[in-house]
Amino acid sequence: MTAARHTLYTVLSIIVVTLILLILPYLGISAFMISFLLSVYIWVTLAVSWNILSGYTGYFSFGHTAFFGSGAFASAVTDYYFNVPYFMTIPIAGAVTAGMAAGLGIVTFRLRRLRGQFFALTTVVLTFVSSIVVINNWGDGIVMHSVKAFWPFISIPHIFYTLALLLCVASISISIAVYRSKLGLNFFAIRDDEEAAEAIGINSFKNKMIAFCISSMLVGFAGAVFAGWVKYVWPETVFNLNYSLFPILMTILGGMGTWVGPILGGVILTTIFQIVAGGEAILNNIILGSLLVVVMILLPQGIYNLALTGYRRIRPLSRQTP
């Protein structure tokens, strides 16, 4: 299959799946199902965006919580204090979190000797610093203005369902586009050997900045969509460490560094949490902890890579050249 046809098939399948999911709420599925799918979309967005930075470039981030919370509060603050229409607060939230990533990246990515672990540590620090700033200023939370339903058939849940779906599809599309482009190759080269990448002319600083900003911007959008959906934005809900940890677990479970992995892992884990724990927070954490250990030991390469290896083994040898 040629690359152009491959791209065409990918684009077509994304469009078809998106259209089906878009009309799903109008086919009479339950309110519970709508809110469940909405949470799937948000988690998949978080996992996919984490993978763009950490899966592709190898720089492990624990900063998703910082960006998710900041995105949610950027949306709430501009909505509540500045009366910015809700839909405008979403790009603002993305700009705020991308700006935070750029600020942190300029400091940490420039220091040549402080690589992986140091970066991971600074993302943890960013999480605490940003949550403290928010708690000090808006510790009691913010109640956002109501979003108006457009016309009789598009109710508020439908609006947020659609927003989350579109965000999720956009994240996946960006993730695939990066994966298949020269930009993606640069990221993978940095992941495998940063010095060797520099030696053949790849500007690692610039590429890491791009990855970090794209990733954080998507998380900021997700935070804003979540804020509008729950309407009451409270620091302890949006600065929950689960927003850093779940996407990591989802991506590793699905297959880190592939574009399919985080989608697979996001869907599977959100479903498991819903079925087993019914969204119960403490149970979720117990499941998270045990799963993290089990996945790391039994399945470090992820479901997708495992399936791929299995498929290559059963596929006739003559067809192995793509």
């Binding site: 190759l185 993978f188 080269a189 495998d192 050997d193 010095e195 060797a196 520099e198 690692s204």
Partner: protein, 233 residues
């Protein structure tokens, strides 16, 4: 004669150790230069200085009469000096073809270039093999291929023949000579003196960070300072 690469009084210390001490040299275009010396004589440090991985404490480096001292490695690579590493550093999780493509600036006409390089390094049948599944020697060739696809004016090879089979060493010598024919300038660090004597036009000898001799292989192999550096007083 205009020099392609010029080092003037370059020095680099690590703590109290003078790894490279006041080294000057000029490399004209289209030659193969060998850089030899005992272990710890500063050869790899010198390469790191030329390619921007280290910044010299003193002295300047010029490439095509342009000062490149202190530029970042990727910047120097894009100016036309590409290096390989002593222990091969291919991108292990990428295929041979992807490894080659990382060094290109765009996707345009990559297929022609990739197959040309694959022919040259003899890895035609392995374009879709993941690099970590290659033998060590093949990885070395791939690393050279990845440097070549950038079409650099100058190529610096850090111990290309270490740890690989004699057949691949021969293949490597062929590739190096072919590159000179194509107009490239090549600097080779190597302990395998047979390779050095086979391919190099001139040889520079370092000892304790100081340049102690420069000349053709037969000249330096009779040089008393070189012999004592290698064998001892």
């Amino acid at each position: 004669m205009m020099s392609l690469l010029k080092l003037s009084n370059v020095s680099k210390s690590f703590g109290g150790l003078k790894a490279v001490n006041n080294v000057s040299m000029e490399i004209p275009p289209n030659v193969i230069v060998g850089l030899i010396g005992p272990n710890g004589s500063g050869k790899t440090t010198l390469v790191n200085l030329i390619t921007g991985f280290y910044r010299p404490d003193a002295g300047d480096i010029f490439f095509k009469d342009e000062k490149i001292t202190g530029l970042k490695p990727y910047h120097i690579a894009n100016k036309g000096i590409v290096r390989t590493f002593q222990l091969t550093r291919v991108f292990k999780q990428l295929t041979v073809m992807q490894n080659l493509m990382t060094a290109l600036n765009s996707h345009e006409d990559f297929q022609g270039k990739v197959s040309e390089i694959l022919d040259m390094i003899g890895l035609q049948g392995k374009a879709n093999t993941v690099a970590q599944n290659l033998s060590y020697g093949e990885q070395k060739l791939l690393e050279i291929g990845r440097a070549l696809i950038k079409n650099p004016q100058m190529l610096i090879l850090d111990e290309p023949a270490s740890g690989i089979s004699p057949t691949i060493v021969n293949k490597l010598s062929e590739v190096i000579i072919e590159l000179k024919r194509l107009g490239k300038t090549i600097m080779i660090i190597e302990h395998n003196l047979r390779v050095i004597s086979n391919v190099c036009d001139t040889v520079v000898v370092l000892n304790h960070g100081v340049k102690i001799a420069e000349g053709t292989f037969s000249e330096i192999s009779t040089d008393q300072r070189v012999i004592s550096a290698y064998i001892g007083e």
